[in-house]
């Protein structure tokens, strides 16, 4: 049945006969969205210049080999780094304001171990550059410089006075923190890449610095800081008194130094902690004697915590004045200290009180800092108290010589050494090619204050598209936290204390694959477009579309009204609004 006899001549409602795209609504706007790539706080501070947000993204998708290769663009030692780096990245993680920091180092360790377990390789062709390069010192700085230079096509020879490569990583770090097979595994890759190792050759003695200067087009010096600072009190020649470097070196050579049953360790840095924890593993009681309080200790908090778990005792505000004992140490006379004004390091200075007391001990280890042996440096090197003078990229005043690691003015950590080796490699390459400042100056590819180069960015091979790169560091207020569930971080499990004290077994247990993926997926990927599509989904004008030519999205300015919804809905601060002129 039909109720109306309607004859339709015009439609009931206005209907378009052409596309409404003829209305270029974008002409109304006064501001426009811009896709940008900002620096995440973790990347900004990484002394090794790693792309942390990038490999977190890959690991979250189970793309382990790609993640490994992304790290290997910057740092040849992910398995080592995941264990010994003090992961200051995690302190800066924006996730700390949301729930817990992402356990970046445990993810890196997993990726490094994945690389070792699957024998992943970096293949390089035979050297194509005619220049021959010498690296002096097979520690983290030298090995890193050699690695990157070898990848750049140079032939590289490494000289080192020790029997085995690794430097402080081998002889300074106990194996409960860094198992030797991990170290050997990662270093062996350099061997396979054709880096020539000249071990047990001491430059300055077995070969001269001048001969290197003559034979090689450029030389990298990374000879480290192997001289223990002296306490400067009487009686240090008594038996059972060690300095930290000799002690740890003996341990790492597999010797068991005779240290006694009650050990006093003098110092508050990571070496002091290592010595005390090793002493506990040798069956001794250990007391750390430090002249300031716990808050001023340079040692890493987690290391202090683990030392406490293992029964290391701490004696703060005490400074050695004299050593008791005939032939062998029997005790130390200590002066009580008080905290005074701030010093240059921003910590409160220890002030003597004149009041003294004694402690008994039958062994003592001094660990108050290491310095470069000035005599090991070439005569033509300009230095100040063993700290070699070099520019930001590591070039010394003797222009064919570059320096890195503990001999230049950077913090004495493995990570900083790795970053300095990479900087020097870039500098050497540019020096040999005769490139001075140009548009690709590494200055443009350093992430924030650490001054570290991200090579993938420099080479244009980053995982994330570096569109409109900005050196601005993304903070939590740039995030849209609505898009991130609160999810506590995975807790790191440590083996029981009685297990630890039986030997040198690694303390921190590895994360399972599930835990690693869960952690990696917690990463906000701050500041980089992950192609999540929110901008596209929320655009009321449908003016944001996938970039037909590549990565991410493009905004069609003919229709974008400049409302800014896309910028607001970007979960990770990879967009910004720009006022139109």
């Amino acid at each position: 049945m039909k109720y109306t006899d309607r004859q339709v001549h015009v439609p009931l409602c206005s209907v378009s006969t052409t596309s409404s795209l003829v209305n270029k609504t974008g002409t109304w706007k006064s501001a426009q969205p811009l896709f940008i790539d900002r620096v995440s706080p973790c990347n900004e501070q990484c002394p090794a210049g790693e792309d942390i947000t990038g490999y977190m993204y890959l690991v979250g998708q189970g793309r382990y080999e790609e993640a490994w290769r992304l790290i290997m663009e910057e740092n040849p030692f992910p398995a080592i780094m995941g264990r010994v780096c003090f992961h200051t990245c995690e302190e800066r993680c924006n996730r700390t304001e949301h729930d817990d920091a992402v356990s970046i180092h445990m993810v890196e360790r997993f990726i490094g171990d994945y690389g070792l377990a699957n024998s992943l390789r970096i293949t390089v062709p035979a050297p194509e550059r005619k220049e021959r390069l010498a690296i002096v010192g097979a520690g983290p700085a030298g090995l890193t410089a050699a690695y990157h230079l070898r990848k750049m096509g140079y032939g590289v020879s490494i000289f080192d006075s020790n029997q085995k490569p690794g430097g402080m990583m081998r002889y300074g770090i106990p194996s409960y923190r860094l198992p030797k097979e991990v170290l050997d595994g990662e270093i062996s890759r350099l061997d396979e890449m054709g880096v020539e190792f000249k071990m047990a050759v001491k430059v300055g003695k077995d070969v001269t610095w001048d001969s290197l200067d003559n034979e090689f087009e450029a030389v990298f010096m990374g000879i480290g800081a192997w001289e223990e600072t002296s306490l400067g009190i009487e009686g240090l020649n008594k038996k059972r008194i060690y300095n930290a470097l000799e002690f740890l070196e003996d341990i790492n050579h597999g010797k068991e130094p005779k240290i006694g049953k009650r050990i006093a360790v003098i110092g508050g840095g990571n070496s002091a902690i290592d010595c005390a924890r090793v002493s506990r593993r040798l069956g001794a009681e250990a007391t750390i004697v430090y002249r300031r309080s716990e808050a001023e200790m340079p040692a890493h908090t987690e290391e202090i915590e683990m030392a406490r778990e293992e029964g290391v005792r701490f004696l703060f505000l005490a400074s050695p004045k004299a050593i008791y004992g005939e032939e062998t140490v029997a005790g130390v006379k200590l002066e009580k200290m008080a905290l005074g004004e701030m010093d240059d390091s921003g910590r409160r200075r220890p002030v003597p009180t004149g009041e003294t007391f004694d402690i008994d001990c039958d062994g003592m280890i001094t660990a108050i800092g290491e310095a470069t042996r000035v005599g090991d440096l070439p005569a033509f090197t300009s230095h100040r108290g063993g700290v070699v003078e070099a520019d930001r990229m590591g070039q010394t005043t003797h222009l064919r010589f570059f320096a890195g690691g503990d001999i230049i003015d950077i913090p004495h950590t493995v990570t900083h050494a790795i970053g300095s080796g990479k900087r020097a490699a870039v500098a050497i390459d540019r020096f040999l090619r005769g490139i001075e400042n140009d548009k690709d100056s590494p200055d443009q590819f350093t992430w924030g204050e650490s001054g570290t180069i991200n090579l993938a960015w420099l080479k244009g091979t980053s995982l994330f598209c570096r569109r409109n790169p900005s050196l601005e560091v993304v903070d939590y207020t740039d995030m849209n936290p609505f898009y991130f569930d609160c999810l506590p971080g995975v807790k790191i499990k440590r083996i029981p204390v009685d297990e630890r004290l039986k030997g040198f077994q690694e303390v921190a247990e590895a994360f399972s694959e599930e835990e690693v993926i869960s952690e990696a997926r917690r990463c906000f990927n701050c500041g980089s477009c992950t192609e999540c599509g929110n901008c596209c989904i929320f655009c009321p004008e449908n003016s944001i579309k996938r970039d037909p030519d590549g990565y991410g999205y493009v905004a069609d300015m003919d229709f974008c009204k400049g409302c800014g919804i896309c910028v607001n809905e970007c979960p990770r601060g990879a967009m910004t609004m720009k006022l139109m002129e």
Partner: protein, 388 residues
């Protein structure tokens, strides 16, 4: 099948039997139990419908317009303040020619707050182009809901089913529930013709119209609203034939031989039937006319029903400040076409605002005032107002 149902349940049954496909609504007393009942029906598998959660009545109507443009049968319910918030979208639904059906439970306007019955919310939507169907009892509510879809879809204009707050919405009556297959025969699936958002034929609807075309679209609305008068009659006739219950836009009750006729709408009609019987028993020459449709307004039927009567008393449970009750306005204007000697005197009464009861006594009082005065005291006479 007979069931004891409240007015709100009757609405929900009506929508469910009509195979409504999309419901988008926002809760508001005293409407809420309509959409709760529909949500239950959906959860229990009685109704196969998509339920869109929205954050306001404005969005509810916007979602309904979108769904209806998608070519599906669409329903919502609201009342009072919610209907006011929908106002902009009510106009849009008309202009977009979306046959949405809305159940409005008449609720008084704030301020001051009131949740009780009053027609001012729906009569305020007189100019939106919605068909308005007022109901006297719960059976009429259920039947009108089904008919509303058929009427609205036939002329591609939206329709409102209107019931009094609490007097119907929350009061139970035994209701005859039609067989769903019979309803499906009566009301076939909605056919949007060519005018719908077909993904295979992307077009823009309701786009900007220049002055040389705008009036034509409004004229079509008016033309179809005029046609709606016949459509409503036809649908009611059809419904009567199939289900045995007959409804009219204008229905007289003992009015043929009456000198004084009371004109009423909504639940006042059911009280009115008893009042008329009571007054007739006393020998008074009084009758009643119940109006079901405010839009389109059934002028011709009213003229036919009231021609030659001496006096007409219009009871408005609504009010337009500065003018009079809305039914009285409409009736005055409709009867003006009669020659003076056949034109009754119109008495406009305002009663029962904000849910105040209109009892048999109230209607008797209105009748007495009308009978005694040769001319009305005023254009609007307020009944039962204290403190005046």
């Amino acid at each position: 099948m007979r069931k004891v149902l409240t007015g709100n349940q009757a609405v929900a049954y009506g929508a469910m039997l009509s195979d409504v496909q999309v419901v988008a609504a926002y809760p508001i007393t005293p409407q809420t139990t309509i959409i709760e009942e529909l949500a239950d029906m959906q959860a229990e598998g009685l109704a196969d419908l998509d339920y869109i959660r929205v954050e306001s009545e404005h969005s509810a109507m916007a979602a309904c317009i979108g769904a209806s443009m998608g070519g599906v049968r669409t329903f919502t319910a609201t009342c009072g303040q919610g209907l006011f918030l929908m106002h902009e979208m009510l106009h849009y639904a008309t202009g977009a020619r979306t046959p949405v059906v809305l159940a409005n439970v008449n609720r008084a306007i704030a301020a001051p707050w009131s949740i009780w019955s009053d027609q001012t919310d729906s009569v305020s939507q007189r100019e939106t182009g919605w068909i308005q169907l007022y109901c006297e009892g719960n059976q009429e509510v259920l039947d009108t809901t089904i008919m509303a879809f058929k009427i609205a879809e036939s002329i591609r204009l939206p329709a409102m089913v209107i019931l009094d707050a609490f007097f119907l919405s929350h009061t139970s009556e035994p209701i005859e529930i039609p067989d769903i297959e019979a309803v499906r025969d009566f009301l076939p699936p909605y056919d949007p013709g060519d005018l719908w958002l077909d993904p295979n034929n992307p077009r823009t609807f309701g786009s900007l119209c220049m002055p040389d075309t705008y009036m034509e679209f409004r004229w079509q609305i008016q033309r179809d609203m005029e046609r709606a008068k016949q459509v409503i009659d036809d649908v009611q006739d059809d419904f009567g034939r199939v289900f045995g219950r007959n409804y009219r836009q204008v229905e007289g009750y003992r009015s043929d031989d009456a000198d004084v006729v009371m004109v009423v709408s909504g639940t006042v009609a059911s009280t009115g039937r008893d009042a008329i019987d009571f007054l007739r028993a006393r020998g008074e020459g009084v009758g009643m006319v119940k109006i079901k449709t405010l839009r389109p307004f059934p002028s011709q039927e009213l003229v036919a029903a009231l021609r030659g009567k001496k006096k007409v008393a219009v009871i408005d449970r609504n009010f337009s400040p500065g003018a009079t009750g809305v039914w009285a306005q409409e009736i005055r204007s409709a009867l003006y076409e009669l020659p003076e000697d056949e034109r009754p005197i119109i008495y406009g009464y305002i009663a029962g605002l904000g849910g105040r009861d209109i009892s048999i006594k109230t209607i008797e009082e209105i009748y007495q005032k009308t009978r005694e005065a040769d001319q009305p005291d005023d254009v609007d006479i307020w009944i039962g107002v204290n403190y005046v």
